[in-house]
Amino acid sequence: MRSSRWFALLMLLFVALALGACGGDDDDSGDDNASSSAEQAPTAGIQKNEKNASTKLVIGSKNFTEQKVLGEIYAQALAAAGYEVSTELNLGDEKTALKALEQGDISAYPEYTGTALLSFFGYTADKIPKDGLIAFAKAKEGFAKKDLTAEPITPFVSSNEVAVTKETADKYGLQKISDLSKVADKLTLYGSPECRQRLDCLLGLEQVYGLKFKKFVPVDIALRHEVLTKGQADVSIVFTTDPQNKREGFVLLDDDKGMFPPYNSTLVVRNDVLAKAGPDFDKVVADVSKGLTDEVMQELNARVDLDKKTPEVVAGEYLKEAGFIQ
């Protein structure tokens, strides 16, 4: 009767779980490290230093793909160097992350130069240096006042972008953001809930470009491409390094008034942690950051968002493929 049907279902469930738990432990990507009992002399790889084992590090990150990947990369690289590392990914937005850092809940997290200047150090969009290195210098100054060190920036730049579908761009002849001023009152903009208040988002678009959209709809950051492809949004705010941009053929409107600041990524660390961690910390972070070009970052994001791998796995792949970890 019913009981035997439930019993069968139960058995099926346990069998499925047992299979899943046992079978799913293998590496997915082909890994040729199977036999490595004797350690090869590392060439460009990260060297494990026993002295680092006494230093505890907590690496944090904000709550979207690129941030989680960056957090994992630094965490795994530092762990390979012998540190004791744990992660606190998914902190929230930059204010939450900075608070966690200042309170000592985390040791470090990757921040963007542009974001720091806008959100922490009181720069207005027009005052921000357009040159990435100068922007970094200014950000580093600001962090230093908070007893934090901003590590060298990554090559890649990840800015906010104003995106429309190809159809919309063709329909209204849109190439740069200023083109929107004629038609904004007919268009619906979708963005993250904080977008309304951000100078590098809707607030900035209103102030710098004088755009008045027909409607602004807040959606979760994870849905930023979905709403464009499903036709709900006319305009959406995406990131430069989003793999979906190329895939869906979105048109990223040109920032002709230079509203969006440069966004290189820099790992921001507490000074007391840095002092305790020794010279290996700086070296590992600098080396690992060097490999993160635009192309590479996009590829890594694509592996998480499109191939649906976890940030942890993808970070490990990066470190292996770039030669940091054997």
Partner: protein, 233 residues
């Protein structure tokens, strides 16, 4: 030492199932282990919450069975706990108990209380007076009467309440990640547009509910053999 970087493989992505956020059996098979830990965490939260909730409300019901004036106040209080949406409860507790399993468990236990309390009482109240008289006639003390006659006869009602409490708790525990307690809800939330993810994580929650429900039913059949002869409820 100059750092010589190896090349990171840049792939040329064609139209794969997962990049389209579709339902992809291959991907599911490869990545199923991602759901195992959350599943067991979910099961843990549910079982512990129901067990604790049952312990508390069963005892309360036994006390209220004798002291009838307790029924109303207990029902009112547990009723309010029952009504407060779990997600609100998680956040109302955060300032007091912080993030983690305990906060989630407290909210989940609170929810279970009314269901079990009402059902245990109803079960006990439904025991026919004649049966109790017969028991007393046989010389049973009040305590013996309770444990040898009333509770066993109330079991169907009690187990029914237990089953309802369990399936509802599985549903509520999906939101437990808001309190920092993990579970299958965290998986769902991590990629809410990816069909495979939503179906597997959601599906596992339903399977868990069904499995626990079936388990309790089996236990009920085992400990109340006299009901097996009766036609299905």
């Amino acid at each position: 030492m100059i750092l010589e970087l190896a090349q990171v493989q840049i792939r040329d992505r064609t139209d794969t199932c997962e990049s389209n956020n579709g339902f992809c059996p291959d991907w599911i098979a490869d990545n199923f282990d991602r759901y195992v830990d959350p599943f067991f965490q979910h099961a843990y939260l549910t079982v512990v919450a129901v067990a604790i909730g049952f312990g508390i409300s069963f005892s309360l019901a036994l006390v209220a069975y004798r002291r009838r004036w307790l029924i109303n106040p207990v029902t009112q209080v547990t009723g309010i706990l029952y009504t407060v949406p779990s997600i609100a409860a998680f956040f109302l507790l955060l300032p007091i108990t912080g993030r983690g399993d305990d906060t989630a468990l407290i909210a989940l236990v609170a929810y279970v209380l009314l269901i079990i309390f009402r059902n245990v009482l109803a079960g006990l109240d439904n025991v026919p007076e004649e049966t109790k008289d017969a028991g007393r006639g046989m010389g049973l003390t009040d305590r013996q009467l309770l444990w040898r006659v009333e509770v066993p006869l109330a079991l169907p009602e009690i187990m029914a309440g237990l089953r309802i409490a369990t399936t509802t708790t599985v549903g509520l525990a999906t939101l437990a990640f808001f309190a920092g307690a993990g579970g299958l809800g965290e998986q769902i939330f991590s990629d809410i547009t990816f069909k495979s993810n939503v179906v597997v994580a959601g599906g596992l929650a339903v399977v868990l509910a069904a499995a626990l429900d079936g388990l309790i039913l089996l236990v009920q059949r085992a400990i109340t053999p006299w009901t097996r002869a009766v036609a299905a409820r």
